[in-house]
């Protein structure tokens, strides 16, 4: 039974989506669970897996096209299944002729085939599988099989024919994206060969222009408007981490036994869960001259992902135990990294933390995730000489960078809030 693929609705607010990639071509066989295509919405990119097996018979919406939710994207069906009804109902009239001519093509007759570059390459299924795994271009392989077919062992031989080149030439070729196989004629390739090729092809351009991804566009747009429209002030204060570290070291093995991680982020989230209920002005949104106070603390965490940054939020952490915070947070981070976030995970945040301590930062000025009014930046923990009771001692110190929206949150309030965070970190028993 043919299966219609439609633009999924990946969240309450999604109305349309862009197909950014198809992983299969028309005519390819797909298995249940195979990633079929990628959909980008204004919030995130999602990979969509096949929920049935069959042949991808038809693609209606091609890469780069944006269509409303529920639009027909393609059809999965049996190899010989008649899908003309489905195709006709979806097809634009001028596409029909293409299908008819395809059906009229004469059946291939068996004959000796010579393989030319650019032609359809004859290779056994196993050879194709290996070529994909090793990223080998089949058109460069010499076939030795029956009827001029490339066999798996032909790929092994390809691997063995090493291209000789000087290290400099190799490096230059790599930087310039030149495939050495294209210019190799059995003589060691030198720097001069690369330069000569460059001369022939024209100079390497100084710049490379790339279209921005949807994710990057959104990030840019949001940060620009926040930056331009928000008077932001960043407050810095150091916390003595002695007790906080001791607390974590005691709890960590106990958590580990239950398969849970315990990070400083989790502990700081617990501190914030407690304080943000009290400091309502910092757990608020500021939009259109209205202040919205949130009764839940939905704490956003900035997650570094390939191609950008995502800020999923853990909902209602004021009601959560530390264990729950740990497991929920780790789940969201994992989902963010594997592209499995639900759009609802990315909306409704009330406060955000961003931790760049692992990169050795001492201080920075994080930008608020609008419409929130504050963000807490977390830096590295390092041993520092500090003066306590007029004596210099060494203590583990971490600096916290709190950015607030001064139009709503006054400086004194921000300072009090940050001070109380530091107090609680230095004396974590206050969490009880």
């Amino acid at each position: 039974m043919a299966r219609e693929l439609v633009m999924p609705k990946l969240g309450l607010t999604m109305t349309q989506g862009t197909v950014t990639k198809w992983y299969f071509n028309e005519g390819d066989r797909v298995k249940e669970g195979d990633i079929l295509y990628e959909v980008e919405t204004d919030k995130l990119t999602n990979k969509i897996a096949a929920d049935t097996e069959g042949v991808l018979r038809k693609i209606f919406v091609h890469t780069g096209e944006t269509v409303p939710v529920k639009s027909l994207l393609g059809i999965i069906g049996g190899e010989d299944e008649d899908i003309s009804d489905l195709v006709n109902s979806a097809e634009k009239p001028d596409d029909k002729t293409e299908i008819e001519t395809a059906e009229e093509a004469p059946a291939a007759t068996e004959k000796e085939v010579t393989v030319n570059k650019g032609d359809y390459v004859l290779a056994t299924p196993y050879a194709k599988k290996i070529a994909v795994e090793r990223n080998i271009d089949l058109s460069k392989i010499n076939p030795t099989g029956y009827k001029g077919v490339i066999l798996a062992k032909d790929l092994d031989q390809y691997k063995e024919t090493k291209i000789k080149a000087t290290p400099t030439a190799r490096k230059m070729a790599e930087q310039r994206g030149i495939d050495l196989a294209d210019i190799y004629e059995g003589v060691r390739i030198r720097k001069s060969d690369i330069l000569a090729l460059e001369e022939k092809q024209g100079a390497v351009p100084d710049i490379e222009v790339q279209e921005t991804s949807t994710m990057r566009k959104i990030i840019a747009q949001r940060l620009k408007s926040t930056w331009a429209g928000t008077p932001m002030v960043t407050f810095n204060m150091e916390a003595d981490m002695t007790e906080f570290i001791a607390l974590r070291e005691k709890l960590k093995p106990i958590y580990l036994r239950d398969g849970l991680k315990l990070t400083y982020n989790h502990l700081i989230m617990k501190v914030l869960a407690k304080l943000l209920v009290k400091y309502r002005d910092l757990n608020a949104s500021f939009e259109d001259d209205k202040i919205i106070y949130h009764n839940n603390v939905n704490l956003g965490i900035a997650v570094d992902v390939e191609g950008g940054l995502l800020v999923p939020n853990v909902k209602g952490i004021e009601k959560m135990t530390l264990r729950e915070i740990s497991s929920e947070t780790e789940k969201l981070i994992e989902n963010a990294r594997t592209n499995q976030l639900n759009p609802d995970d990315l909306t409704g945040g009330t406060f955000t933390i961003t931790n760049i301590g692992m990169f050795g930062m001492d201080s920075f000025t994080p930008i608020i995730n609008k419409p929130e009014v504050a963000i807490l930046g977390i830096n590295k923990i390092a041993d520092k000489a500090v003066v306590i009771n007029k004596e210099i001692t060494i203590r583990p110190i971490m600096n916290l960078s709190l950015t607030t929206d001064h139009s709503l949150v006054d400086g004194a309030l921000s300072a009090r809030f940050l001070k109380e965070i530091v107090d609680m970190i230095e004396n974590p028993y206050l969490l009880l």
């Binding site: 056994t124 299924p125 196993y126 030795t144 099989g145 029956y146 066999l151 798996a152």
Partner: protein, 323 residues
């Protein structure tokens, strides 16, 4: 280990199981008086008396009566004399024997065995030489086994006799006389398990019954060329051992299927299609099927000889895809 013939092995299986379970009895043509056309029932009437029964020449009556007896709680064995005669009892076999358990919602089972000697002998002609196992791969509700050697012949017959479902036991006429090692004591071969006879890395060759004899000859020829074939004896055709097949093909990346039966629509066709569905990406050569030409078995000795499996021709075709 002691060596006995295929036919003795089936006799041992019958005698041991009939001693173990008195519900087992046999119906067939000339099996008491003659001991079976291939001697496969010789001596059984002496020990088991009227539990070995000669019948009129009516396969319909034999299979029909056995189904009735099975429904009444006995465990009958129907001897078909020649597999070619199963056509006479086809309604009993595929509409009754195979369907009753399903039709009555599992309230009853039909624990019976049909023994069917098959295959080419010497100029037995088109109606007494056929291998018809593929027909029964298309009938849900049956199990089908086809041993290639005395040990499996004994073990599979015992498994068939103990199975609560109808089992068709194809026994090859030429193999009856072949000897092979059979251990003393209990020999039991579970239905549905293929046997990896020989490990190799270059090609998987799958066969069963008399086809295995041909495969061993093919293997000798291939060994001379340094080709290491992996050999699988299917033993059970329904349900066939899918894991054994896939595991081997994923290792050798090539597959050849050999049987004496007609190639078109044969057991090899089913397995080829199965492998193409499940493991196409592991294949480094086209799947090779070897079977009889699409023609009745000829009576003429030269033509019959032409009809038979040819190890050297098969080996040559295999060499071509390995090179």
């Amino acid at each position: 280990m002691r060596q006995i013939t295929f036919s003795q092995a089936t006799l041992e299986a019958m005698a041991e199981e009939m001693r173990r379970d008195e519900r087992i009895f046999v119906m067939g043509e000339d099996i008491v008086r003659q001991g079976g056309i291939f001697g496969q029932f010789k001596g059984l009437p002496d020990e088991f008396g009227d539990r070995i029964m000669d019948t009129p020449i009516s396969e319909t009556a034999i299979v029909g009566s056995c189904i009735g007896a099975a429904l009444a709680g006995l465990r009958p064995v129907a001897d078909m004399h020649f597999a070619d005669f199963m056509g006479v009892a086809m309604d009993e076999i595929f509409n009754q024997m195979a369907k009753i358990r399903y039709m009555f919602g599992g309230q009853t089972t039909v624990p019976m065995v049909i023994r069917a000697p098959d295959g080419l002998s010497i100029s037995a002609a088109a109606q007494h030489s056929q291998s018809i196992e593929a027909w029964f791969m298309n009938i849900p509700g049956l199990k089908v086994v086809s041993p290639s050697n005395p040990e499996d012949a004994k073990g599979l017959l015992k498994a068939a006799l103990r199975d609560d479902n109808p089992v068709i036991y194809f026994e090859n006429k030429i193999l009856y006389r072949e000897s092979g090692p059979v251990p003393d004591g209990e020999v039991f071969v579970p239905i549905g398990k293929a046997k990896l006879v020989k490990e190799g890395k270059d090609i998987t060759i799958i066969s069963y019954s008399i086809g295995m004899k041909t495969v061993y000859e093919i293997d000798k020829l291939l060994e001379k060329d340094g080709i290491e074939a992996e050999i699988i004896d299917l033993r059970t055709l329904v349900p066939y051992d899918r894991d054994a097949i896939l595991n081997s093909v994923k290792k050798t990346h090539r597959l050849a299927l050999v049987h004496e039966a007609v190639k078109q629509g044969g057991v090899g066709s089913e397995i080829a299609a199965f492998v193409a569905e499940e493991a196409l990406e592991y294949l480094d050569a086209p799947i090779l099927r070897f079977g009889a030409p699409f023609t009745p078995v000829p009576f003429s000795p030269p033509l019959e000889n032409e009809y038979r499996m040819k190890p050297n021709k098969i080996a040559e075709a295999i060499r071509k895809v390995i090179k």
